[in-house]
């Protein structure tokens, strides 16, 4: 037991299930565009990428390749167009790139099985699921979307059926919740 534990530490086993650290970095930037931070935190803080990664290892295994190839194609496209990685671009520039992707105004060099627009719509839908679905699936950290919508929970007095709740009040300025 001890040996395998040590080996695990040395090999830096990823906290992610299917995606790798770089893919998560890019995905974080995309989900933050889909649900941006305002007076309530956005997709990144809410662990939407974690939701997607978790589903890719369970319910969404069928989408694994679409993510691997789509994220790679997206990254190459952006570097070709802007000379920089997507996550390094200013927020507004990221937004306009995603608008182009949604409108199929991307060059097709890197896109094989999935059109840019289809890929974007898949990530968009999965991001919304992650932000608004039950925290049990890995996103919607601390029921942030429910708080944003003003939905009380537990939803019936005396029937606390929500899981994974930490009742800290969200404070966008606290270092823990930093962007």
């Amino acid at each position: 037991m001890l040996i395998s534990f040590n080996t695990a530490c040395k090999n830096k086993i990823s906290k992610w299930r299917y995606l790798n650290e770089e893919e998560i970095g890019l995905l974080d930037a995309i989900v933050e565009q889909i649900i941006p931070t305002d007076d309530f935190p956005g997709g990144k803080w809410a662990n939407v990428s974690n939701f997607i990664d978790k589903q890719l290892d369970t319910y969404y295994r069928k989408h694994q390749l679409a993510y691997r190839e789509g994220l790679a194609a997206f990254e190459k496209t952006v570097i070709q167009m802007k000379g920089k990685k997507f996550e390094e671009l200013p927020f507004a520039e990221q937004t306009s790139l995603l608008e182009k992707m949604e409108a199929e105004e991307f060059s097709g060099n890197y896109w094989k099985d999935h059109s840019p627009a289809n890929f974007f719509d898949m990530v968009r839908q999965h991001s919304l699921q992650g932000y608004y679905g039950s925290p049990g699936h890995g996103g919607n950290r601390e029921y942030i979307s429910y708080r944003m919508l003003g939905l009380d929970y537990p939803n019936v007095i005396g029937q606390n059926r929500y899981n994974d709740l930490s009742w800290r009040k969200y404070n966008p300025k606290s270092p823990e919740n930093g962007k």
């Binding site: 319910y59 608004y132 679905g133 939905l151």
Partner: protein, 550 residues
Amino acid sequence: MANKHVNAVVIGAGAGGGVVAKELATGGLTVVLFERGRWHTFDEHGDDELTSQRTFPLKCGYGPDNERNWRMAPDGKDGWKKVFPNEWSYGNNAACVGSGTVSYGAMAWRFQPEDFHLKTKYGAVPGSTLDDWPVSYYELEPYYEKAEYELGVAGDPTNDPYVPPRKNPYPMPGFSFNSEGIILEKAAKRLGLHPFPIPMLRNSVPYHGRPACIRMRTCVGFACPVGAKAGTQNTVIPVALKTGNCELRINSMVSEIIIDDKGRAKGIKYFDPDNKLREQTSDLVVVSASASETARLLLNSKSKLFPNGAGNNNGWIGRNIQDHAYTGAYGLFEEKVYDDVGPGACIALNDFNHRFADIIGGGVLCNEFIRMPYQFTSIRPSGSRMWGKDHKDFQKQYFKRHIAVHGPVQEMPVFDKKVEVDPLVKDFWGIPVARISGLRHDNDIKVAHFLADKAEKWLKEAGATRTWQAVPGKVSTPSQHQAGTCRMGNDPKTSVTNRFGQLHEIDNIFIADGSLHVNNGGYNPALTILALGYWVGGHITENWKATKMK
């Protein structure tokens, strides 16, 4: 070891099958009730929107599973594609003990008397197989009542001038309106309409040992945590089991009805929970597996005398599948209209059914069940940006400031709108899968526009600052309201069963589910399916006493 012979096999423990099993078991017949799913509880699923039976991107919590069940659907390019239960084009209902009645919204509508003789009222409709039912509303009325009293319905028709005639009041008082309902009630009255509370298979007061409703937000699409919602799983099925005459066999997938050389059913084949093929012989078989799966099972039961499926020598099984062309409108408000009082849907108008000369049929209009946060992300006026700041602003601004009004348009039956079995594709057990195709009749779209206009006017009168309509197209994936694939009729050439749900061609096979519907009403069909369960089950039990179906 071989299974012991029983009097009746009932296939599918949903609305129809649950009632029939209870009628037969209490009538003294020995019964095995087959269910491909299993028991479910609220605690197993909680209030998780992503695996509910309403929005199900991850899975359909109340079955069936994606691992063993799939269908074929048109791919839009003259071919077929494989679809899974949690995709819209599959057309799922549910698969568990109680089936759709575990997680439904539990509206308890009786069809209108006119719905049982549409052809007489409106004449033949070109392009439709529209016909009269072989049973009238007035014959079915006592069976509607039996369903209302045995399962428990709360309703108050005092303010509904168009309520189908009823001998006795509802067993429970109607539900109060939530804040949407209060706003809509005032607006409807100003328009000269007649709003009233939706009758519900849900306890407004304690009833038959089950408590009153606790007004959950997560009601439709979910099991009830306290059992206030009546399904067959917490009413008639326990009664059937208590007789000692009925055995419920869950996780058991029926693959075929065995037809002997004389052309009668002698039992069924099924895959047991260990996926072993077994037989269960019986004197009679009742199929209540939903309009799509009932048709699939009959079509898959081929024999010498019935090479095209059991009872299908006239080729009508699987034809005329219907659903409801849901139509309506959304309205945005300046003030909060949301009070978190579930299930949301509470107020109805019966004003738009059979009362307009140029409109065939019609449908009831109701406010919609609570739209959960993820579901709400797709509710936008056309042209809206579905992500980014626009998305988030809209969520925050309008989640509690919008109302949805919609209704089920009564569809015209179309012969080429159909369930078939795929010639090549098989499911996990090796059983040929269903494939469903065909387009809606033009009349459905016409009525949908008519009703959506009424819904939008209602919302405007209620003070909506912005409204838009949501009208369906001709593509249809019959799901929770699926009906019509084994319709009853007096003419064996143009129907599948007689007026008691007995196959014209095989006298010891009965149907008891939405498949029997000649047309599907302008209402949610659950109470009619339950009533037909009592009608068919009662007929079988009476005849059993006299003839033993021999």
